[in-house]
Symmetry: D2
Subunit: 388 residues, 4 copies
Amino acid sequence: MSIDATTLAALADQAIELPSWAFGNSGTRFKVFGTPGTPRTPEEKIADAAQVHKYTGLAPTVALHIPWDKVDDYAALRRFARDHGVDLGTINSNTFQDDDYKFGSLAATSESARRKAIDHHLECIEIMNETGSRDLKIWLADGTNYPGQDDIRRRQDNLAASLAEIYANIGDDQRLVLEYKFFEPAFYHTDVPDWGTSYVQVAALGERAMVCLDTGHHAPGTNIEFIVAQLLRLGKLGSFDFNSRFYADDDLIVGAADPFQLFRILYEVIRGGGYGPGSPVAFMLDQCHNVEDKIPGQIRSVLNVQEMTARALSVDTAALEAAQRDHDVLLANEILMDAFYTDPRADLAAWRETRGLPANPMKAYLASGYQQQIAADRVGGTQAGWGA
Amino acid sequence: MSIDATTLAALADQAIELPSWAFGNSGTRFKVFGTPGTPRTPEEKIADAAQVHKYTGLAPTVALHIPWDKVDDYAALRRFARDHGVDLGTINSNTFQDDDYKFGSLAATSESARRKAIDHHLECIEIMNETGSRDLKIWLADGTNYPGQDDIRRRQDNLAASLAEIYANIGDDQRLVLEYKFFEPAFYHTDVPDWGTSYVQVAALGERAMVCLDTGHHAPGTNIEFIVAQLLRLGKLGSFDFNSRFYADDDLIVGAADPFQLFRILYEVIRGGGYGPGSPVAFMLDQCHNVEDKIPGQIRSVLNVQEMTARALSVDTAALEAAQRDHDVLLANEILMDAFYTDPRADLAAWRETRGLPANPMKAYLASGYQQQIAADRVGGTQAGWGA
Amino acid sequence: MSIDATTLAALADQAIELPSWAFGNSGTRFKVFGTPGTPRTPEEKIADAAQVHKYTGLAPTVALHIPWDKVDDYAALRRFARDHGVDLGTINSNTFQDDDYKFGSLAATSESARRKAIDHHLECIEIMNETGSRDLKIWLADGTNYPGQDDIRRRQDNLAASLAEIYANIGDDQRLVLEYKFFEPAFYHTDVPDWGTSYVQVAALGERAMVCLDTGHHAPGTNIEFIVAQLLRLGKLGSFDFNSRFYADDDLIVGAADPFQLFRILYEVIRGGGYGPGSPVAFMLDQCHNVEDKIPGQIRSVLNVQEMTARALSVDTAALEAAQRDHDVLLANEILMDAFYTDPRADLAAWRETRGLPANPMKAYLASGYQQQIAADRVGGTQAGWGA
Amino acid sequence: MSIDATTLAALADQAIELPSWAFGNSGTRFKVFGTPGTPRTPEEKIADAAQVHKYTGLAPTVALHIPWDKVDDYAALRRFARDHGVDLGTINSNTFQDDDYKFGSLAATSESARRKAIDHHLECIEIMNETGSRDLKIWLADGTNYPGQDDIRRRQDNLAASLAEIYANIGDDQRLVLEYKFFEPAFYHTDVPDWGTSYVQVAALGERAMVCLDTGHHAPGTNIEFIVAQLLRLGKLGSFDFNSRFYADDDLIVGAADPFQLFRILYEVIRGGGYGPGSPVAFMLDQCHNVEDKIPGQIRSVLNVQEMTARALSVDTAALEAAQRDHDVLLANEILMDAFYTDPRADLAAWRETRGLPANPMKAYLASGYQQQIAADRVGGTQAGWGA
């Protein structure tokens, strides 16, 4: 056994939230490729997400995106989800696909754009009350494309005021989670470009305001696990958007581009108390499946997180600390690498079976016929996508 | 006078080709914002491009994108252009917006995809014969998103074979120009990612195959003027796609992000014989106007190129070479910077008037009422865009 | 006149601190090239720095580096400086050139290394009391080269405790300024890698603890002027280390690599209240002169800052704000660029003469014979350098 | 068995050359830390290198650096090496540590600097004739720090002429290998900054001129395995300098920063025919051990290469090609990842014992007492270092 019982017990608690939009079509500014069987409604997205949970036991909740997932009856949507074995999760606001937000939303210079954006978030909070969601996640496209286009400092103050009004409406059991991003779609300045900005904004709000770390939203070379350690130390790491990238915000399958980085991130999560029942950290995927199939793409992602968590939990922390205190650089590094290089897959497969799950979730899904079924059934209507 | 007569004489030869697609709507994967007056047809794009030339005298040709600018009668389109004071220029192929190219085009593993892509280029050559275009410009989205997805080496060989077939059909007075790009839309590997790859591919073809350098298509920190100098030395710099960027391929107005870089690039162009009547180098814009107006955005761009060319032509090259040979680092740098810091705008304004052009092309265009006119006229129909 | 009287009046207040170490030899890990006339003592460094002030009127103070500039009698050193027309400025600590700091200093796991490093800073404070310095500037090389080598989280806590002890010893009129750096000399993790970390550490200390922003210490593509605006908004921008870079921490002459970036930074400094008599922001150079002469290199740097400040002060802020509120992207950008493209050099030359300074400080210095004099005089002894 | 017999047989051929300078002290521009037992002579470096081979069977040759490893009698040095179980390998020239090369060597504007640099290489060839070395490896620090400092184009022509003269003196069984590097120690332009430049320079020389790829010498985000595939396709991949990096040219232990990248590189090496008896590709380490012990650092490196080669050799290439041709993105990626995630360490340990090597070379070396012995013996004299 390369993975011991303690590790397996810890893995039993793992829950990774899926984004409803991962099941719709997505792409680049050059082209969005469609696929047969793509969902046309929020319900169909949830049904697809439930498949991921069915075969992995790892993905019990689905995040919604407003207005993409707007429905008339959220209680009915929640029942639909529960009937499919999952629950509704984080509510994501959207202030980047309306013409009124061309020059910004919560940070905009235009008072009417700010008002509209604040009201949209207040509506999201109402939806959260119906869906029973804990987290309101805010990612802002706000920024500018040209030096001089707008006033960086004023926009930061605008943002603070907008967030304060939204935060004042968050319930006692709810949280506001503010995401940061290095660049795109703004190409000169972005109003929340780094963890420092997200931190100072949420720190000004209060205890229930936290930072969301998207693993693809950093400058080249950024040590992300350092940010994880720092935010946990400050009590402000609210959630993860997992994905991976070789270049910019590529939104590839988590672990696909740099598995060792994923390992180091998860190691710092565990080290800093961010993993396990009492942790405030929500784990979520945020990816695009441009050329690969969506449901198995999500299955691959949650399995990658699970396998890497197993490795990170396997680090011999006592030996590591001893080597660190001895300044034995090579030994300390070897202890960490030993856990990374360990192959947990066979043990995890066996353990899955003890829990009534398929040993190989990917194969089980592919053999299930679900993909063929939705391709046949979902003909007509408008396929969901980033903008749908 | 900060700009002398020799420089002004040299500037009289300057010609910058405009891309027809710059006048349509463009944006990011998150949102494409539309604007009143956006062209609906190739003719309307050409009419808009002609405005840029009318006020600046700098943009006598318009590049077409096939199939976006497909028409039944190219002779008629050419007449239309000439009636508006401009001519048709480079033909750009497009192998990134058809479902068949999901996994590549000229480099694809699929023989049918390659066949289709080659045939598309043969069709482009036929169009060139009708439009009288010299250059076939090829930018390929080909690449993969995940390690293992396809075979890097085989794709390179496929690409060579595809290009050879296309090149064999190029006329004696025509050229094939191959663009490279660091990444996007492919996020793991790109089949033509750097100047080295473009160079070895076109060098294998023959004399009429050249490299296209897009100023936004490099890794962070890349010294682009070095590549300019190297390609000119090798006789293989065929054309420029001008734009600017702070991050990735942001496609901002040329000179907007790093004016000094534009100056250094133009200095090396002149230094290496790439500027002037006998030069093989075609100058073209390739930008997106996501949040700013398109026609004045293009006017600003060509003016930026002109003003920076004036500065680059003003370098005291004899003094510079003397300082270089003396290893007087500070003096050599000062001589270059002196030209950069010189403000040629008043001299250029006066010179424009001597040539029957407005002193301030930007103001003249804005005062002309054209923008209001097209906003009123062009109602209904489908606005042109990257995909239209 | 391109530069008006208000701007010139504002420029009269400008003061840029010079680093004593800029006058010693410096280089890369590959080679340090020496030059004739390089100082051998703190006094000779100060004498050289005084030359920069003599010809520019811009550099009234000299920063010291301890232990490089340790002397027996700081009162005498101060008198020496004043006799040469300058004063002593910031005290810079050094915890990166002693074998005991191989695995860190203020953040180290080793208690004895931390103790030594804290004591070194207490000694620096005593020196500040003698030199009359206001600022203790701390740049830390602390970090690790390999994942697992040490515990990121524990080191952050160690750092907080170390800084608290130092801060407790800072006088009421003194400040602690904490610099951050993306990487180097540590190549895996750095304990103070970004402005966020520096900010949270100094915010925990108190009002007299501030952030130092070195313009070369960021990830590729980082929008530095955004950080300037943010830190000014938070009241925590304590000082600048000016230099420039194309790649990593190249430490080139300020303004040499990207003049437009320097302009944007200075614009945000002014915009945010960081410029002028009441400002808490200290301006300092921190450069290496590897291949160019050192004294004229420093003269070039302070002139670059002055000329760019003149441009930044010239922005028509009322017109800019109006264009921003109108969302006239092209006009707003043009207003900013207009100030950048204005050439203030002739006006500044004339203004210098009214103040009893040479019109061209660079030429005046080169003609003074000082360089030849020190080359002849300073023979024998050990030339100062980064490590000397 | 995760590693099959075919793979093990292929591994038996693996040979990785060690750099003599890896055993001396190295560091950053900030500090070079010394260690007890550091070699003082070329013989002591070779003796240390022989330890790596003794415990791993992977490192049969040692590369020399001229003038660092100059001796009076190379035949005697070769005998010394052979007596210690290793042989002499590549000769590395050095044109970056002499004052005459301050402004360049083979590319310099100064004719005398070029002459000296060419002569140095001719001397290296004479040494190669005595040591029986096949490869002359050239890495150039040539470049400039400031725009305008020197003429990029002229320097490229100078370089071509210098290389031609050196190449004319290379023996029929010898090769010239030209390394490229993105930046450092030059911070504006580097004369051989990328594979394209190295390729066009060596292609102009002839068949026995090749490119050297140092894995740390690229812009952020560069797809190195693509360059491997391209150079193998062109028949011009002469050698590797293995190391790893998180940021710039960090020169960390190979595989330490991004093990998956190392895997992908080795996969393309094998895919393109660069591995095995008939391959023209020389594998070499080029690292710095700044904070870790040097001999075990080198042992860790060659083991990392061996283990990763085992994984790369284990890819099911037939299944991979089938998945690629089916455009089954997820399956193709999974097949590659399956090999990467396989843990070959136990199999390799067992296999080592069958070959008379210790199962755990690292432990065996540490238990041998060699480190303690040299620390005790090598007292006095000057420790070797990058500059010694």
